[in-house]
Amino acid sequence: MAAPLIEVEHLTMRFGGLVAVDDVSFIGRPREITAIIGPNGAGKTTVFNCITGFYRPTVGRLLLHGDRDYLLERMLGHEIGQRARVARTFQNIRLFPAMSVLENLLIAQHNKLMRASGYSIFGLLGLAGYKTAENAAVELASHWLKRIGLLADADRPAGELPYGAQRRLEIARAMCTEPRLLCLDEPAAGLNPRESAELNQLLVSIRDQDGVGVLLIEHDMSVVMNISNHVVVLDYGRKIAEGPPADIQRDPAVIRAYLGTDDSDSSPHQGQRSLNEGDGRA
């Protein structure tokens, strides 16, 4: 088993009297997809917000192993993306809607291009060094556009794309930052079964070809059970189970607390169904 990529240790996040995340520890490894599941309000997105620097954890350590060790809980939001190379997507898509698809992917390569443009000075003078760097950036963007099937739409405003394409573009944009760890917040939300299956393929290829560690929050069990290597289950902010997907499906604590359903409207604590049911849908 590979050495850990991210170690979350005793993570606790309190908002006033509310304990959103309570002493959660888990490990994410490179070339693995670690899924975080749990009923609505279990604290999954809060864990992500702590890892990506949007919240500062009340207690706990977030250790990322890269070219050196990064203590994420001590870093500013944008430094986590820039130095520790943690990229994320959002539950509600956050593209730059008025800008073109290609521009969205170039902004993801901002820090690299800023350096190449001599912090704009060489770029303003039109020196060749910047042009080469920009061409390389466009090359990387085209590579990802091919992989998500949006090459023909490169010059359209991102906000005009259909919903499923926007979801894929957001993942491609995160990948253009060349991350070590990719945090995906419900990437399959609102996708139809065919798009879900395509997403599975994309995530598997990101794991296997690009060698990136993936943290995945997802309600769609067809995605979770098929592609994740490791599953962490949260309920009311606490970790109630952890293990390979097959074990999680049989775990009595998980079955009691929360069962994956494909009906998002059923109340999480009443919808007593087998996880296998969701699994069978893929």
Binding site: T52, G53, F54, G77, H78, E79, I80, G81, Q82, R83, R85, A87, R88, F90, R94, L95, F96, P97, A98, M99, S100, L102, E103, L106, I107, A108, Q109, H110, N111, L113, M114, S117, Y119, S120, G123, L124, Y130, E134, V138, A141, S142, L145, L151, A152, D153, A154, D155, R156, P157, R173, A174, T177
Partner: protein, 473 residues
Amino acid sequence: MAPRAIAMLKDAALTALVTAALGIFIVGFRTIDVGSRTGLSFDYELTDLAVAVIVVFLGRLGLSLAAAGLRWPVIALGVVMVAAGVSPMKLPSGFLHWFVALGGALLVLRGIWPWADRAVAVASHTSGGRLVQEIGAKWLGWALLAVAVVLPFTPLADQKTMDLGVLILTYVMLGWGLNIVVGLAGLLDLGYVAFYAVGAYAYALLSTQHGLGFWAVLPLAGMLAATFGILLGFPVLRLRGDYLAIVTLGFGEIIRLVILNWVDFTNGPAGIGSIPGPTLFGAVFAETAPAGRQTVAEMLGIPFNSNHRLIFLYYVILVLALITNLFTQRMRRLPVGRAWEALREDETACKALGINPTNTKLTAFAVGAMFAGFAGSFFAAKQRFISPESFTFIESAIILAIVVLGGMGSQVGVVLAAVLLIGLPEWFRELGNYRMLAFGLAMVLIMVFRPRGLIGHREPSIRLHPVASAGSG
């Protein structure tokens, strides 16, 4: 048909009645000062009231007809009203003529609206139409530039036109500068005029007290204004939208009040006078040169003409404005420019992508302020006299209006809006106090017909596929 016609007439009559009831006190009476002993008395202006009531009656009738789909009667009615407005008919005031004609014009517009609406919809919603718009904006930009370059050589170039040209170009430059902050970076700045003031006072003080020339001070003024931009930027980094607007508004006022009250340094409300104008390779624009200097007329060996100074100023501001434009266009294609736009679109996503929002915002504030500083120096050199009165909030508001009406982020849009907002009120000076009414009406019309600004189209800063194939996509 008949009951409907009666209903329309009833409706129009009712509206006219309301107008009469409201207008009788506002329009129908006029207080007049009859001397110190008796104080105020009043006069009747019932003709004005009658005209207003008739116009409202016809207007309401026209709108009802238009709503019923009777296009031609509406247009005919409008034309008749316009004709009545411009006819030499005797009315108590010139404004009533305008009022009648404008009402008629609006009715004509309402009549042709369904066609115009369809044409606009076709033009802006098809990809072909978008291509036309793109090429149109580009072509329009070059055409405007050509006009601007040759203008001083045309017979139109009398002193009034050139003065107006300089004024418009100053606002174009300010609009382009503010466009970086508001249009690209999306930071609503209501105190932009503060940087303009910093630039103007920098030149005024350095030239009158230290004898520095315009070209030496220009970069200094830009740098000084940029420094002020960063100073303003730091406290407002965490603010967005309305909060940012209020703080920048306050900053603008602070600068103005400091200038007003720091009398030792800025000469306070009395302002600074006899500021030297810009020189051409050391030669001055005057009939006789001061000791040790040459006049431009002597240097070029041409007879002296007081218009030369104005034409020179015109070209100076034209070049300064074009530099602003080129710089912005270039920045848009660089990572920092894209980051500005990304920041406008979604700051949270920017942070997640590792973009430092602090630095990005500060560069936008600094670069925007720098161009205001340049424009301010030019303003001081052109006016030769500056006082705090030139840097009130209304200036910031006008510059912001130019950016917003032009279409956020559009460079050609800023030019069109500056010509409309600065040029029209100047040309319409004959309207007297009503020109601000026309100004307001123009703004409302632009916002109704083009809610995203005159030029709302955004051209991507980079394309993967050439434009020709984009049209079909």
